[in-house]
Every structure is written in C-alpha cells, then in structure tokens.
C-alpha cells in the first residue's frame, strides 16, 4: 500500500517538502545540541525538564485518544466511526513516534539510550513508560495496517485482529496513566503530587486528541475525495465537549485543594503560573490565554446549536487544542519546578534552537501522519465511497 | 524483473559506496602502530610486566577495564588480585597511566590505527604529555 504515498498532487508534494525543510532545520540544531550539550536549551539546574518533556507529555495524550474512536466502533458497533477509526489509529502511531523522539532529544547521553533495556529497572516508572509506548505503537500499527489492507482487498479483517483491538483499547489509558505516574509520585514536587493527575491527563487527552481529529477530518474532506462523515465529526464534537468539561472540572479541583487548604507549597506553583510569584511572571500571559481559549471552546461546545455548525466546531476544536497544549504541553512541567526545592525561583523559557528542534520533531510526526493518511485516503478513494464493512 | 534497469543502477551505486573506502586507500601504506613502553616508570621496573601477560592485555584490556569500573564504582571493590597474586589498585588514572604515562605514545597508537575512540577520556584525565 505504501506506493500510494508516492503519487500525489502538487499541494501534497509542496506540503511534504515543507515538512522536510523544517525537519532539516531541526536536525541541524539537534546536531548542534548533540555536540555542545543541552546547554543550548533554556533548561537549568532548577528547571531540569522543559519544552521537550512537556511536548512528550502532551503527545502521549494525543496518542492515547485514538481509543476514543476505536472503542465506540469496535465495542459498541458505532458505525459512523467506521470511516475514521483508521484516522485515530494512524494519529496514534504518529503521536507515539513523536513521544519517543521527544524523549530521545531530551537525553543528555542519547547514545546510551539502550541502557534502559540493558539494565532494566522495574522500580522506575520510565521502564514501564518504555514498555507501554512501544507496545502501543506496535498495536496501532498492526491493527491499522491490517484493517486497511483487508479493506483494500474488499474482505473483512481477520478474526484474530479483534483480540489486538481489545488489547489496544485497554492499553490506551495505560500509556497516559503511566506518563502521569512519572510525575505524581515524586516527593517534594507539590504541584504534581495529586492523585487526580492521571485522571486529569486522560480528560485532557480525550478532549485534545479528538479535537485534533476533528480538525484533521475537516482538512481531509477539503483536500480529498474522502469524506469522514458529518455524523462522525459531530460525535467527536460531543466527546470533546464532555471531556473538556471534565478537564476544566479537574483543574478546578486542583485549585480548590491548593487554595482552600492554603498550604503555601501547594499554592505557590499555581500563583506562579496564573498571577506571578515574587515578581516572576513569564508564564502568566500564556496560562491566561489557555484559560480564555478554554472558556471560548466551552461556550461553542456546550450550546448544541453552535456545536452543530461545523465551522464553529472547528474553531472550538482549535481552541481546545491550543488551550490544552499550553496547559499540559508547557505549564504543567514548568510549574512542577517553580519554585524549586529551596522555594527559590528560576524561570524557564525555551530558546530558539530548542523550539526549532521541537518543531523538527513535530514535523517528523506530521510527515508520518501525512504519509499514513495519504495511504488511508487513497485506499478509500480506490474502493470508492461504498460503506465499509469490517 | 520489474524495473530491471533501475535495480541494476541501484546495485552499482550500492557497490560503489561499499567499496569506496578501499579504493580511496588503495596502495597507501598506513604507519604501523607502535605503542611505546619506554616511560620513566617502566624503565625503573625490574621485571617489566603489566598486571597480566602482554598477550592478555593486548586482547582483553577493554573488557578488563570495563569489569574494573563496575567492580570499583558499583561493588566498592578496589583491589585487583592478579593471576600471579600481586595486588593492584583498580584505577585507570592512578594505576594504568602511572606506568603508561603517555596516552599519545601508548593508547592512541593502536586506537588511532583501528579508528576506535574509547570515551574513557571524556571524563578521565590523561597524564600531561611531554614528561
């Protein structure tokens, strides 16, 4: 099926070239980082994880959210998702690849990465993260590819596939739970030490992921002959709505616990992020932008008449995506390190090389996504617009 | 065979790339490595012998250093009881390099010849050259 990715329109090739250029730029800066060290980033002794790890965290969520289309389709036989399950699975593949790359570019000694396998350490959450991420990559590649191959041949997917589908459904929440455990079990990191961290992660994942899927589905409809279907997009809209509400509710719970208890160590990171602490306030505008986007998205999503308008749903999805990207793909990690273990403040802001490397990784993800989606769409165009029977 | 022409061109390019290092160095003699053992410390020795036999050191020193490092750093065992019963402090900087006091004339000789770059010296400090 790969060959279908080699035939495309002018727009397709311009987009591929554009991504390759960004990847090239990212690679150049990564080589610089490889030679000089992580000193070219904005990270410091006090804020020792930054943009890379926060992108990783956010993207694990995007990967996990694939389950939001797989589950209704395979377990509840929700036909409308038949056309987009493959989009969810392929998005998961691209997202997991980006996760792995973000971990890799964050390592101080990347050539020793295999030490994690050579010296397996089951008391480290990182050990489980490696297992669940690679397992999830395998499951989605297997399920997505097999299902699509069968579809192309016009036969139902093999029976054994169902077992892997069910495993992947259970597996999806596990990847994000384990990622939350990286943070929520660390003594002395008050901002992260919250039992609802994993739950909050899942809520934000299941809203930001489907939001991205809505945007992608609309793009596909605009540029190809394949229509993911109005009903599927509306159903995704509902999923985004409920999980966005849950996510904002969870954030509210965090605020209540911190400020009603008024324990200084618990309130400080929140004060730093949303109001600034002792004159340090680099992240305040971003965090408020996240809040405003969240409010706009909720207004558009909660009112059914607005949500049913696809244009407004698209705007709401963009708002959800960026609101949560700021919240989780930036603030959440930095907030854990400010103030530091000495209750002192060192601020963090990514440097230009750091952002370019991150953009390079995102572009690799989008390149993989583009190729996979191109294949999926070509197969759909090939077999025509007949309904798909799995 | 589909696309026979393309495959053959591809094969030729592949073969070209794989043999180009050989073509590049054909006919050129590369200086034989000569690790020098004439350091002042070795001159002073009555019996000029490393911790183990010369043959063993030649083939196994990298494995030995690896094991030494684990023994010292991870198990807290610092002394090496050699095959002949002698005791040595397992330390690259304080034992090995005390005798082999020129990295340039000893380690680098073979390492450069076979183009290996052990990362020992990224952290460990080599003795000052020229003594």
């Amino acid at each position: 099926m790969l060959e279908t990715a080699l035939k495309g329109s002018r727009t397709y090739w311009i987009w591929i070239l554009f991504l390759l250029t960004i990847i090239g730029i990212g690679l150049i800066f990564y080589i610089k980082q490889f030679i000089v060290g992580l000193g070219i980033t904005g990270m410091s002794r006090d804020v020792s994880w930054g943009f890379y790890i926060s992108q990783f965290t956010f993207l694990v969520g995007i990967a996990a959210s694939g389950v939001m289309v797989v589950l209704p389709y395979y377990l509840h036989n929700y036909k409308a998702f038949g056309r987009i399950t493959i989009l969810g699975e392929f998005l998961a593949i691209a997202a997991v690849l980006m996760c792995m790359l973000f971990i890799f570019v964050d390592l101080g000694q990347p050539l020793r990465v295999l030490n994690v396998i050579l010296h397996p350490t089951p008391n480290s959450v990182m050990f489980y993260d490696m297992i669940v991420l690679s397992g999830y990559l395998f499951l989605n590649a297997l399920v997505g590819w097999t299902a699509l191959s069968s579809e192309r041949k016009g036969v139902p997917p093999p029976k054994w596939l169902k077992i892997f589908v069910i495993i992947s459904i259970v597996w999806a929440p596990s990847i994000h739970t384990v990622t939350a455990f990286l943070y929520q079990g660390l003594p002395g990191k008050h901002f992260w030490m919250t039992a609802i961290m994993a739950a909050r992660f899942l809520a934000s994942a299941f809203s930001s992921g489907p939001a991205l899927l809505i945007i992608l589905a609309l793009i596909i409809r605009k540029f190809t002959k394949f229509d993911p279907g109005k009903e599927a997009i509306q159903a995704l809209g509902k999923i985004v709505t409920y999980f966005m509400i849950t996510n904002v509710f969870f954030l509210g719970l965090e605020f209540f616990t911190a400020f009603y208890s008024a324990i200084p160590a618990h309130t400080h990171p929140f004060v730093y992020l949303y109001a600034g602490l002792e004159g340090y306030n680099k992240l305040v505008p971003l965090m408020w932008l996240s809040n405003i986007l969240a409010i706009i998205s909720l207004v558009l999503l909660v009112i059914p008449q607005l949500r049913r308008n696809e244009m407004l749903l698209a705007i709401a999805s963009v708002c959800v995506f960026f609101s949560l990207w700021i919240d989780k793909g930036f603030g959440l990690i930095v907030g854990g390190f400010v103030p530091n273990s000495f209750e002192k403040i060192t601020e963090y802001w990514p440097t230009i090389p750091e952002v370019l490397i991150a953009l390079g990784v995102w572009s690799i993800g989008f390149l993989v996504l583009t190729i996979l989606y191109k294949i999926a769409v070509s197969v759909r165009e090939e077999v025509g617009s007949i309904d798909i029977h799995h | 065979m589909y696309d026979g022409g393309k495959i053959i061109i591809g094969l030729i390019i592949f073969i070209g790339i794989s043999i180009f290092p050989f073509i590049l160095t054909m006919g050129k003699a590369v200086a034989k490595p000569e690790p020098k053992l004439d350091t002042p410390e070795i001159q002073k020795m009555v019996e000029k012998k490393c911790v183990e036999s010369k043959m063993y050191m030649k083939t196994e020193h990298m494995v030995m250093l690896n094991d030494w490092r684990d023994a010292v750093v991870r198990d807290g065992l610092r002394l090496y009881k050699a095959t002949d019963g002698k005791l040595y402090d397992m330390s690259l900087q304080n034992t090995c390099m005390k005798c082999h006091s020129s990295k340039k004339n000893f380690c680098d000789q073979c390492h450069n010849y076979v183009a290996v770059k052990p990362y020992c010296w990224d952290c460990h400090i080599a003795p000052q050259e020229g003594t």
């Binding site: 971990i103 390592l107 490696m130 | 610092r78 090496y80 095959t83 400090i125």
Partner: protein
C-alpha cells in the same frame, strides 16, 4: 526455482534477526576476565553500615569556615566553576535557613537571629529511602548495600534527569555542556565528568575505601562529624543522642543521613 519477492524479504528478514541474535549470544559466552584473578576490598576501607554526617552549625563562624569545606570537596572532585547559576554544578554549598528547611518553619519571622542569618551547608542527604534511586531507569544512581551511600555511576547515566526531578533536596547537578574547560585546577587523581550526565556528592567513596573520612569532614576541623548510624557506640550516635538535631524535609519519608546540630 522461482521465489516471490515477499518470501525473499521474509527469509532475508528472519536470517538478519537470527544473525544479530547469534552474534550477541556468542558474545555472552565469551569468558570474562582471567580465571585466576579476583577483585577484593581494600583492607583499609572504613567499615560502616550506614554512613552519616552531623554538621555542628555553631562551629561554622566565618565565611572562611564554609569556603574551606566547600573548596576541599570541589577541588579534589574536579567540580567545575561554570559561573552561570542556571548551569551551575555543585556538590556542597550553602543556603539560608528558610531555604534549607522550607517546611520546618515556614515564614516564621520571629526565629532567633543566629538561625535566620546563618548559612547552612547543604549536600546530598544519602537518604535511606532515596527517591532518585527509585526513579532512575538504568540503575546509574543506586544505593550501595554495604554502607548506604547513594552512588552515581557516570558511565551508565543516560542524562534523562528523572533523578533531578525526583530529588526533593536539589542535590543533583546536570552537565549542560562539557565541564572540562571550567575546572580551574585539575586533580589528576580523580576523574572529571562529561556533558550530559548528572552528578552529585558521593560521600567520598574513594576516600572511605582507603580509610579516610570525607574531604569536607576532614577540612571542617571537627565541625562535621562522620560516622556509622548503625553502630550504637559511634561518635555520631553519641552526638545525636545528646544534642538537638534537625534534618531537611523529614516529612517526605526519605530518611536523610545529614543532620544539623542546632542546640547544645
């Protein structure tokens, strides 16, 4: 005989995997080291089950008292002086009372002046229950079973910095770039570090192994007491049972091994 491309690729793939696997299996069989040789512990090694230090803060009076201790450590361990607080590397340094013990007495403006103004020496606490060891994915940082020292194996560290996030004491430093140019005077008897690894105080394991006390303790001229917590007759146990001491963030359950003698 004709062979389909698909089958050819399958056979090629399987044989490649078998080849790689076979080679690595063979390398495992290779004999390690020489049979008659062995590794033994230096008989001079100080014997203890759980090393600890008690810092008598009243014996630190002048800035010189602190500098002497810090320099003793940093000079023998080739700790670089990077000059940029964001990339700083430090094994032992000073912090104020409220920053060293933020949970002890948060925002109490009425504490004794001598505490409020006093710098406190801080270093790795060599916890009995170290979070850094718990989170490390490669066992590059580990607790020695023999004497409880929380060690760093810089050869193995992949630089993921999970330990830095895990340590509640800010005791760990990362090499954001090659530290070598920033080492003022190199001690040829101890290694330096490379970029991309985490480092910290190792309780002078290399000195304990030859019967010496940690460098900071030696330089403190009696202001720091080093000893074995497991030995009821040790000097440190005598001091701990007779004078009032505190530890940093004891509520986290890490059980630190650095004690600060506050009262008489």
């Amino acid at each position: 005989m004709s062979i389909r491309r698909r089958d050819f690729l399958k056979i090629a793939g399987v044989s490649a995997i078998a080849g790689i696997g076979g080679v690595s299996a063979l390398s495992l069989l290779k004999i390690k080291g020489s049979e008659a040789s062995s590794y033994i512990e230096d008989p001079k090694t100080l014997k203890g089950k759980r090393w600890a230090i008690a810092i008598d803060i009243q014996k630190f009076q002048t800035p010189e008292d602190y500098a002497r201790v810090i320099n003793a450590c940093h000079s023998i361990h080739n700790v670089p002086d990077i000059g940029n607080p964001k990339e700083e590397i430090k094994w032992i340094w000073t912090e104020s009372y409220e920053h060293s013990f933020p949970s002890q007495d948060y925002g109490n403006p009425y504490i004794q002046d001598h505490l409020k103004k006093k710098p406190f020496l801080v270093l790795c606490n060599h916890c009995d229950n170290p979070p850094c060891v718990r989170v490390c994915p490669t066992k590059a940082t580990f607790k020695r079973k023999s004497d409880g020292i929380v060690m760093m194996d810089m050869h193995r560290c992949i630089g993921c910095r999970f330990c830095m996030a895990g340590c509640p004491y800010g005791a760990r430093s990362f090499n954001w770039r090659d530290p070598r140019p920033y080492i003022k005077k190199i001690n040829p008897e101890f290694p330096a570090r490379m970029k991309g690894v985490v480092e910290k105080c190792t309780f002078c394991y290399q000195r304990i192994a030859v019967g010496l006390q940690p460098a900071c303790v030696e330089a403190s001229k009696g202001a720091m007491i080093f000893g074995d917590l497991a030995d009821p007759n040790s000097e440190i146990r005598r001091v701990l049972s007779s004078r009032y001491t505190i530890r940093r963030k004891p509520e986290l359950g890490t059980n630190p091994s650095i004690f600060y003698i506050i009262g008489g």
